[in-house]
C-alpha cells in the first residue's frame, strides 16, 4: 500500500516536472524565434506605436528577420550604447542626440538631407474637459497651473519645451509651475490622462495615444515646432543588409504613410490640415455616435477604431 502511494506521488511529480520542461522547450522555440536574424532598434519611447506597426509589416516580408526594440528616453541611449556597444538602428526623437552619438563615433550611416522619416508636430494637451482652460502657450504661465515638463537631458521634448517657452518669454514662470519632470514623452501623456497635470506640450503622435482622455489644442504657428525625426545605422550593426532594408522601408512612401496615420507630419506644408484632423479624431473617439470613416477622422481611422475597442 505504502509503495503504491509512493509510486503515485512519484508519478505525479514526474508528470509535473516533464510538463514544465515540455512547456519551456515548446515556448522557447516559438517565442524567442531561434535562428532568426535579430536587429536591435534603439528608438525614443514616443515612437513606439508607429515603429511597432512598421516592424510587424517588415517581419512579414522578411520572415528570417526579427526586430527587437529598446524604447527609452532619447537622451539615455548615449550612456546605454557606451556601456552595451550594441544596436543596429538608432532613431532618437531629436537630431541633437543623433549628432552627439555621431560625435562619439557610434553612427555608421546617416545623411541629414535624406534620412528623415517624418516630422513631429508639437501640440498642447490638457486633461479631459480642460479644467484650467488652457488655450494658448501663454496660458502655461498662469500661476496655479500644473505643468509637466520634460527633462532636456533625458528626452527630446525637454529641449523643445525650453525652446518654445523661451521664445514666448515665459520660461521662468513655466518652470515655477512645473510639478513634474518626465524622463520620456509618454510619461507626460500618462500624467495628463490621469489628471496629475493640467497642461503640457507633447508630440501630436503622443497625443494620439490618449484621444479619449485628453483635449488636444493645436499651437499657434509661431511657437509650433516641426521636429525632424532622423534614423541612422549604427556602427555596431551586425546584419548590414537587413538593417539597410529596414531603414529604406522606414524612409519609403509606405513607411511614411504609416507614420502619417500615427499623426506624424510628412509634408511640412500640410501641418494645419493634420492638426485639424487630430482635433476631429479626439472628438470622434470620445463620441461613440459618430462613425469612424475617412470623412470624419481623415488619416487616423485605424488608430481611432482601435481606441474605440478599449476604455484605455
Amino acid at each position: 500500500m505504502k509503495t503504491l502511494l509512493q509510486a503515485k506521488s512519484f508519478c505525479k511529480s514526474l508528470v509535473i516536472f516533464i510538463s514544465i520542461v515540455l512547456l519551456l522547450v515548446i515556448t522557447n522555440h516559438e517565442v524567442f524565434g531561434k535562428g532568426k536574424k535579430r536587429l536591435l532598434f534603439h528608438a525614443g519611447a514616443g515612437q513606439r506605436p508607429s515603429l511597432d506597426e512598421i516592424a510587424e509589416i517588415f517581419q512579414q516580408r522578411h520572415p528570417d528577420v526579427r526586430v527587437d526594440f529598446s524604447y527609452k528616453g532619447s537622451g539615455y541611449f548615449l550612456a546605454d550604447m557606451t556601456i552595451s556597444k550594441e544596436g543596429d538602428l538608432y532613431m532618437p526623437g531629436e537630431e541633437f542626440y543623433l549628432l552627439q552619438a555621431d560625435k562619439r563615433g557610434f553612427v555608421a550611416d546617416y545623411n541629414p538631407e535624406t534620412d528623415i522619416a517624418a516630422y513631429f508636430v508639437t501640440v498642447i494637451i490638457t486633461p479631459k474637459g480642460n479644467p484650467k482652460n488652457i488655450k494658448s502657450v501663454a496660458d502655461f504661465a498662469k500661476s496655479g497651473t500644473r505643468v509637466g515638463l520634460g527633462d532636456p537631458k533625458a528626452c527630446a521634448i525637454g529641449i523643445w519645451h525650453e525652446t518654445i517657452f523661451k521664445k514666448a518669454g515665459i520660461l521662468e514662470n513655466v518652470r515655477k509651475n512645473a510639478t513634474m519632470n518626465a524622463k520620456t514623452i509618454p510619461e507626460l501623456g500618462n500624467a495628463c490622462q490621469l489628471k496629475a497635470i493640467d497642461a503640457t506640450i507633447v508630440w501630436a503622435t503622443t497625443a494620439m495615444l490618449y484621444l479619449k482622455d485628453i483635449e488636444i489644442i493645436p499651437m499657434e504657428p509661431k511657437y509650433r515646432g516641426l521636429i525632424r525625426l532622423p534614423v541612422a545605422i549604427l556602427k555596431f550593426c551586425r546584419y548590414p543588409k537587413e538593417t539597410k532594408e529596414l531603414k529604406n522601408f522606414i524612409l519609403s512612401d509606405e513607411g511614411k504613410k504609416i507614420f502619417h496615420s500615427h499623426a506624424y507630419c510628412i509634408d511640412p506644408n500640410k501641418v494645419d490640415e493634420d492638426m485639424k484632423w487630430l482635433v476631429e479624431a479626439s472628438k470622434v473617439a470620445k463620441d461613440p455616435s459618430i462613425p469612424v470613416t475617412e470623412e470624419t477622422v481623415g488619416p487616423f481611422v485605424k488608430e481611432v477604431k482601435r481606441q474605440r475597442e478599449t476604455k484605455r
Binding site: G73, Y76, T82, R146, L149, K176, T179, N181, E187, A196
Partner: protein, 289 residues
C-alpha cells in the same frame, strides 16, 4: 524550537561531504564579495570628491534619511499593533489576511508604483484631494507612501515572528496576578519581544531606504523642479530639489556619469551593510527569512 548551529557530530568518513558544503558556502560568499569589490575599479577618488561637492548629493542623502525615518515611524505605529493582533487573536479570515500580506512582499515594485498612481488619481479620490486642497502624486509626501508599502509588509512579518516567539504563558500569568491588559502589553510582551521588534524596525527601515521602483513611478523626479514648488519647511531642512539616493543613482548612470553613479551605489551599499550587520548582531531569529 529552532536548531540553528546545532551540529551533528560526525564520525570519520564524511569529511568530503562537509568539505563540499563548506566549499559551496565559501564560493558563494566569495561571489558576493567579488560582486561588490570588483566595482571599486569603476569609480575613482576624483569622481567621489566631485560627487561630495555637489549640493544635490547632500540634499539627496538628507531626503533619503528623512523620508525613510518617517516611513519607518508610520510603519511602526500601524504595523506593531497589527502584528500583535495577527499573532494573538483569532481573527476571522486570518489565512486570507496572511496570504494577502505575504503577497505584498513578492509584488514587483513597478506594479506597486503603477497601482499607487492609478489609485490616487482615480476620479472620486481625486475629488477628495481637490476638496482638501492638496495633491499627493508627484509631491514629497508621495515618496513616503511609496516606501511604506514594502516597508510595512516586511515590518509586520518580522514583528509577528517576534510576538509569536513570546510565550503567551507569561502574559497569562501577569494577568492572573492582577495586571491590566495594557500594563501586561507594555511590561511583559514588549520587553520580551524587544529584540525581534528592533530587528523588524531595522528591516523596515532598510526596505524603505532601498525602495526605488514605486517611488520612480509614483513621485517622479524632483531635481529639476523650481525652488518655489517646495514649502518653506522643506527648504529650511534642505530637502528641496533632491531625489532619494537610488533614484539619483539611476539618473546619474542613465545620463552617462557612471563613476559617480557607482559612488552613490557604494554609499547605499555601506548603509545596507551597517543595517544588515546590526540585524545579524542582535540576532532576531527568523526575522530575515
Amino acid at each position: 524550537m529552532l536548531y540553528t548551529g546545532s551540529e551533528v557530530k560526525h564520525v570519520s568518513g564524511s569529511k568530503w561531504f562537509i568539505s563540499i558544503l563548506y566549499a559551496i558556502t565559501v564560493l558563494f560568499i566569495l561571489y558576493v564579495c567579488w560582486l561588490f569589490l570588483s566595482n571599486t575599479g569603476h569609480t575613482d577618488i576624483q569622481s567621489i570628491l566631485q560627487l561630495v561637492n555637489r549640493n544635490w548629493f547632500w540634499r539627496s542623502v538628507k531626503l533619503s534619511l528623512v523620508t525613510s525615518f518617517i516611513t519607518t515611524i508610520i510603519a511602526i505605529l500601524i504595523g506593531i499593533p497589527a502584528a500583535y493582533a495577527l499573532s494573538r487573536f483569532e481573527i476571522p479570515g486570518k489565512t486570507f489576511i496572511d496570504i494577502i500580506f505575504a503577497s505584498v512582499i513578492v509584488l514587483p515594485a513597478s506594479s506597486i508604483g503603477l497601482c499607487l498612481i492609478v489609485a490616487f488619481q482615480y476620479e472620486p479620490v481625486l475629488k477628495i484631494q481637490e476638496a482638501l486642497g492638496f495633491r499627493i502624486v508627484h509631491s514629497l509626501p508621495s515618496i513616503v507612501i511609496a516606501q511604506l508599502v514594502h516597508a510595512i509588509a516586511f515590518g509586520i512579518k518580522a514583528w509577528r515572528v517576534a510576538f509569536d516567539n513570546v510565550n503567551p504563558r507569561f502574559e497569562q500569568v501577569a494577568r492572573t496576578l492582577g495586571s491590566s491588559r495594557i500594563r501586561t502589553f507594555w511590561k511583559i510582551t514588549l520587553p520580551q519581544s524587544k529584540i525581534g521588534i528592533i530587528a523588524g524596525i531595522i528591516l523596515a527601515w532598510t526596505r524603505a531606504m532601498a525602495e526605488f521602483g514605486a517611488v520612480l513611478l509614483f513621485s517622479s523626479t524632483f531635481r529639476n523642479r523650481h525652488i518655489s514648488q517646495f514649502s518653506d519647511i522643506t527648504r529650511f531642512l534642505g530637502l528641496d530639489r533632491a531625489d532619494i539616493l537610488p533614484i539619483s543613482m539611476l539618473l546619474e548612470i542613465e545620463c552617462g556619469n557612471i563613476e559617480q553613479g557607482i559612488a552613490i551605489a557604494f554609499v547605499l551599499l555601506m548603509i545596507t551593510v551597517l543595517s544588515v550587520y546590526t540585524l545579524n548582531k542582535i540576532g532576531g531569529k527568523g526575522v530575515l527569512s
